[in-house]
Structure formats: C-alpha cells, structure tokens
C-alpha cells in the first residue's frame, strides 16, 4: 500500500518545518547565485506540497513530478496543481535519464528533491550518483530517506550494510554503536554528504559539490535529508560562502522533532513569540494546557516554520 493511502502529508509538522527550511535556503541561494529559470523535479505524489511551495516561494514554473505507481499516476495527473507541472509515470531510475535529455529543462539549473519514504538503498544510491553525474550546472540536489536503524539490518550488520551502500567513504573503523539510536541518523547524514562529495570529485565535475542541507527530523519515523549544490566552477566560492555563513539555517545542530499542536494551541503559543527569554513550562501551563520541555523548545525554535493548515492548501 503506497503511503499516500495511509498518511496525509500535511499533518506531519516536523516534515513541514524541514521543508520550509529547505525552501527558504534555496531562496537564499537564488538571491546570491544565477539560478535563472530554475526547474523543480520531485515526487509530488497526489498532494504536490513541495510543488506548490516551489511555485509560490521560488517562482518556479516548469516542474516535473515522478510517480511510479499506476493508480498514483492517474491521480497525480488529476491533482496536478499548475499548468506547467508535468507528471511522468515510472520509477525514478527510468525517468531521470529521460529528463537529462529533455530539451525544455536540460540547460537550466534544477532543484531536484528525491524525497523517499524508504531507507537509503541501492536504487537511491544509483539515482543520487546519476543526478550528480548528469544534472545541469547549478543544480540543487536534495535527497530524503528513512533513518530508521532497523531498516539497515541487525545492529551487528549495520556497518557492513552501510559499507555496501556508501562504499569507500565509510571509515573502516565505523563502530556498531555509531549505527544505533539517534547516532544512526547522524552517521547516515554524514555518509550521505561524503558520498555526494566523493561522486562529484571522482567525476571531476567542475565546481564539485557544495554541501548545503543536512536536516534530521522525526514525526513518526526518523528521516534524514541531505543535499547541496552542484555549482559551476565560478559559483563554487560564492555558494560556499553562503552556506558556511552564520545565517544559513539548513544545518540545524539538533533533529527537528516538532510537537503536534491544535490550531488553538499554536495560535496562543505563537502570540508569546518572539520572546527575549525562553518560554517556560509554567508559562505554557498558565495558558491553559501543557507541553514538555523538549516540545516547548522545539516550537520556540521553529515557530516561524511551523505549518499553519491554511498554507498547504493548493
């Protein structure tokens, strides 16, 4: 059963916050680099949340959504939000090569977000390599995958499994305890970035790969988002300065684990922010409800990106 039968995407607050952070990051890149006539490529499913954001926030018109499931495809075509969105039926590994040769988009920079629900596997690795090797200059590549440790085998087997997937970048000394609990997501994020850098270097892609996104988030399952820019040689320095600057928000130090709040709770909490002093639990309780300290900290940090239900309706 595909996940759109089970989950309504718009009700995952951590995912929404992560999405907002990533898109805000790309908007910042747009103002510093020549990301002219950007194209968006992704897995829109039937909700197209990211496509709507690409159009509204980044001003992107031409977009491609890839949908592998047959029924999903029919529904996706029906639900396609804008006239310039094309939906392609097929697995990403089959559709991507056709896009590298597509006359409308092959000479323009892409924002391509391969947002998988499943764990990093051979297919995702091959897709990632394929994009780094073939995508146009100044492409922004982002991948998201499950960081759930159980999907990578028993604890003892995980280092070997990661070696199978990520290859030479995996240190020989990778410890089993680095593949457990929340360290697993950190390890996956680091290996993901190292892998992308190495593929670009091996290919001697002029301009290389500039890591720009590294976000771990969790609604139910822990997810890992990593990505960066494949700039032209001349743009590497500028891109590097932007993403290493103090204002770049796409390398949050801690995973995003947002509380699920009602509309009333959100509004009332938000009205206390921004605040010079951190919100305290007694303060929240005096509003009439309760949250734990972690939840309060998370909301305070991300209240600007916290989803308002109205914002995701196309």
């Amino acid at each position: 059963m595909a996940s759109f039968d089970v989950v309504n995407y718009s009700l995952r607050p951590s995912k929404s916050i992560q999405r907002q952070i990533v898109f805000d990051g790309v908007r910042t890149l747009q103002s510093h680099l020549d990301l002219d006539r950007l194209v968006y490529v992704g897995f829109g499913s039937i909700w197209f949340t990211d496509f709507v954001m690409a159009h509204k926030l980044l001003g992107i018109d031409d977009m491609v959504s890839i949908e592998g499931d047959e029924i999903g495809y029919s529904r996706a075509v029906f639900n396609s939000p804008y006239s310039t969105v094309r939906v392609r039926n097929g697995l990403s590994s089959n559709v991507l090569p056709t896009l590298y040769n597509d006359d409308l988009i092959r000479r323009r920079p892409w924002m391509i977000w391969l947002d998988y629900d499943r764990e990093f596997d051979e297919t995702l690795r091959d897709d990632t390599r394929s994009v780094i090797e073939n995508a146009p200059a100044n492409t922004v590549l982002i991948i998201t995958f499950s960081g759930n440790e159980m999907r990578y085998g028993q604890a003892n087997d995980r280092p070997d499994r990661l070696r199978e997937l990520f290859g030479d970048v995996v240190p020989d000394e990778l410890a089993k305890r680095a593949c457990k609990d929340d360290r697993m997501q950190e390890t996956l994020a680091n290996l993901g970035i190292d892998f992308m850098k190495s593929v670009a270097a091996e290919l001697a892609r002029p301009g290389g790969f500039v890591p720009a996104f590294r976000v771990i988030y969790k609604d139910t399952a822990p997810m890992v988002t990593v990505g960066g820019l494949l700039p032209t040689r001349g743009a590497t320095r500028v891109a590097s300065d932007v993403v290493n600057g103090a204002d770049w928000k796409c390398f949050p130090a801690k995973p995003i684990i947002a509380p699920h709040l009602t509309i009333r709770e959100t509004a009332v909490l938000q009205s206390l922010l921004p605040s010079a002093r951190s919100l305290s639990r007694p303060q929240v309780q005096s509003l009439g409800f309760d949250l734990n300290d972690e939840q309060i900290k998370a909301f305070e940090k991300y209240y600007r990106e916290y989803p308002a239900f109205a914002q995701i309706i196309a």
């Binding site: 028993q154 020989d172 850098k197």
Partner: protein
C-alpha cells in the same frame, strides 16, 4: 640552395617546465604523499640508529609522529623524526637525481633522490619546506627552503637552485612541509571524502609494519591504524616461514618469505556482488619494512609465469609476504616510483621459486578440497589467526591431506531477483549483508522443508 651553417646546433637544453612535467607525470597523487611519508619514516630510522626493519626486530617507534592535513585549500605534512640536515638540503635533497659520490643512509627507502621534489610539485605551486635538526654537538639548527614555482620557472639558466633561508626553530626536530595553491588534481582529490579514506587505508596497509611498532600517522587529525597480516594455524595448517641471506654484488640482502592461509577459501567462485572478493589476498612485497606491492595477483609477483598458474578467485584466502632488507636501498628490487617491484632484480628472481612453491601448494589444496568440502571446511574452521611475526620458522607450509569423495550430481540454479527483495529476505534470514548465493541456498532449504518435509 640554402647553405647549412655548420656552427648551428640543435638545442638540447632542458627547461624547468619540462622537468616538472616529466617527474610529476608518472606518479599518482597518493603515491606522492607516500613518498613524503617515506622521508619522514627514514628520518625516524636515522634517529633510532639506522637498523634494519625486519619482522624479528623489536625497534620501538612510538616516539615518532607524522601528521598530514589535506584540504582543498592546503596540504601539510609535519613530523618529529629528526629533520633534514643542511648538508642534505645543500647537496642532495633538492637536486634532480642523486650525486654519484653520495653517502646513502643505511636501511633507508628513499633511494632515488627524487621523492620530495616530485611530491611537492605534484601537490601545488606555493611550497614551504622547513627543517630543524641537531648537529653533532646538540645545537638545534633550523632552516627553510621556500619555493614559489612560478618564480622558479621564470629562468631556465643553470644552476637550478633553490634558496635556503634562515628560519625559526620548529617545536621538535623534524620537517614541516606546507603546500598552498594546490594543483587542480590535488584540490579535487582532497575535497573527496572517498579519496581521503582510501589514502588512510593505503597508509595503514603500506606502513603496517611501522605502525605496529608504534609509529603514529595522522590524516586530518585522525590516527591511521596499521593493517594486521595474520595467517591461520592449527595441527593441520601451518604457514611457511623462511629467512636467508642473499647478495647483489657486494651488498647483502636479507630475504624473508612467509605464506599460508589467511582466511577461509570462498564458498563459491561466482563473482558475488555483495562480497569483498579477493581484494586482500595474493603476494605482499616489503622493502626495508615498507610494503611496496600489496595483495598482488599479477605476473609481477609471479602468478601466470613459469609453471605457476594465473590467479583465480578460487585461490582467495592465500596471503604470502616477502620482505627484503638491505643496508643499501639501491639493491632492493624497487622501481623508480617505489610502488612496484623491478622484476628483473636478481635478488627477487632468486626468491621466486620459494614463492611459487608455497603458492602451488595452496593451489593444489584448493583443488583437492573441492572433492571433500565438508571435511575441508571443518579443518579450516579449526585454524586460528596468528600475526605474521609470531609464525614459527618452517621450510614449507603444511596443508591437510584430504580424502576425495565422489561428487554427487548437482543442479546449478541461476536466477535473478530485484535487489530490494533479496535484501528484505536476507534481513529476515538474519543478516542483511548475506551473500546472494547464501540467501538462495537458504531459501531453497526453507522451501524444501516446508513443501517436501524431512525424509
């Protein structure tokens, strides 16, 4: 008709640019870095009194440290191995090729006098070499050799000297090389995490003998661990280990040969995608303690030459190591890049029959075991791993005699399934990285028990 001016000459003067191109051309970036490490290691040896590095040796190198940092912006290698003397710098380290009347360091590995220059030119164009050493009465003497390649290239007139300038003393006696303005190749490679991990692996393998004696090598602040070479021993399995003295001209060379089973032979000889394969097996050759040929399966170490079969995956599990030790490094069987063996070397050729003998013993064993697999596996599993320096002397390897049993007729099953499905099944069978072949066999057994039942 144009008269030829008999005084005209065909110009044969070398240009600096040509030299730089030639010496950097046939060496890889990784090998260049290993050349710099060789110089540091030689420094450590000199400081320890220049003794031979054989397996029996118990020299402690734990006082010595080599730190390498590599990023797309700069490269540096810094050691505390005693430093290069001013005399070295003036007369030897910076000339292109060794001067004939040269005193060589005993038991060194830097034999052709070209390693450091080649390496720094390969790395970049803004080079600083600093050294602090102690002279005979214990005074600490620092100096530096800065090289801005663009400036140096401006004139081809001899002499092709580099300036030696005064400098502040380093914290410890040693050498500190810093290269900025990296070449494009170096810049790209140092930005690749895979390159850096592989560099660490190569260092761990090629300097394993030194690392296991305490030498510390760091790459970007992370210590490199020495690879361990171990061979398996039991009542029925015993590796060969012989040591003898040979001569090349007037010079003495000590030769040590060890060979045997390092790991269990493979389950199958089909190429298996999930498998590490035979990467670490084959012949290793060390010269004055530094491994110059690792896991060789080619005709360089002898496979596929006179009366010696070519390497085949069936032979996985075998490791042989041959160590050449000589006071004068010029008699070691090294090529100019120090990354391979000069197969025409007399000393090497005389050692080959012994190498061939133990290799062929192993080949015979792997052939015989095909007919007695169960018994072979049982005996192999009983053998325990022993580090090579703990292996006892033995003229030839001992391998079990196996009784061949007639082969049952087998059916070979060959089919393809999507990787994702196989991985899911492997995981349920208990190990997500289980080789494909094993998953297939287990699934057959599972279905057999379920459908056919025990008979």
């Amino acid at each position: 008709m144009v008269a030829i001016d008999k005084d005209s000459k065909a110009g044969a003067n070398p240009t600096k640019a040509f030299f730089v191109k030639m010496i950097t051309r046939d060496i890889t970036l990784e090998d260049s870095i290993l050349d710099l490490i060789d110089n540091s290691v030689d420094g450590a040896w000199r400081s320890e009194g220049s003794r031979p590095m054989s397996l029996a040796d118990d020299t402690d190198l734990s006082a010595y440290r080599i730190s390498i940092t590599a990023s797309p912006e700069r490269f540096s290698i810094k050691d505390n191995c005693g430093g290069m003397t001013l005399d070295d710098a003036v007369n030897y380290a910076f000339s292109f090729g060794r001067r004939a009347a040269e005193e060589h360091d005993e038991y060194s590995i830097g034999v052709y006098g070209i390693g450091m220059k080649r390496a720094v030119f390969k790395l970049g164009t803004d080079i600083s070499i600093r050294s602090t050493y102690q002279d005979d009465d214990g005074t600490r003497l620092p100096f530096a050799v800065p090289i801005i390649v663009a400036d140096w290239l401006e004139s081809d007139d001899p002499p092709w000297d580099f300036d030696i300038v005064d400098d502040e003393a380093l914290d410890e006696d040693g050498v500190d090389i810093v290269v900025n303005s990296l070449t494009p190749g170096a810049e790209t490679s140092f930005g690749s995490p895979a390159f850096l991990q592989n560099l660490r692996r190569t260092i761990g393998r090629d300097y394993s003998l030194h690392l296991n004696r305490g030498l510390k090598i760091f790459v970007n602040d992370t210590a490199v661990s020495g690879a361990q070479i171990e061979l398996r021993q039991s009542d029925e399995f015993a590796p060969m280990r012989v040591i003898y003295e040979d001569q090349q001209g007037d010079e003495q060379v000590t030769v040590e040969i060890i060979g045997g089973m390092a790991a269990l032979p493979p389950e199958s000889i089909e190429p298996d995608e999930g498998d590490e394969g035979d990467k670490r097996f084959g012949w290793y050759v060390a010269c004055n303690g530094r491994i110059v040929l690792a896991a060789d399966k080619s005709d360089v170490s002898g496979w596929g030459t006179e009366d010696w079969p070519q390497w085949h995956r069936q032979y996985s599990g075998f490791i042989g190591i041959i160590l050449f030790t000589a006071a004068n490094a010029e008699v070691l069987p090294l090529t100019t890049t120090k990354r391979s063996i000069e197969v025409s070397s007399v000393v090497f050729r005389r050692a080959r029959p012994r190498m061939r003998e133990v290799s062929k013993q192993w080949i015979a064993y792997t052939n015989a075991r095909k007919q007695a697999l169960v018994e072979a596996k049982r005996k192999e599993a009983a053998a325990i791993a022993v580090p090579i320096y703990a292996v006892e002397r033995r003229d030839s390897a001992t391998l079990p005699e196996l009784i061949a049993r007639p082969l049952e007729r087998v059916a070979n099953v060959n089919y393809s399934v999507p990787v994702s499905r196989l991985k899911k099944l492997a995981k349920e069978f208990g190990r997500i990285s289980m080789p494909y072949r094993e998953v297939g066999l287990k699934s057959f057994d599972y279905a057999y028990e379920d459908v056919v039942g025990d008979e």
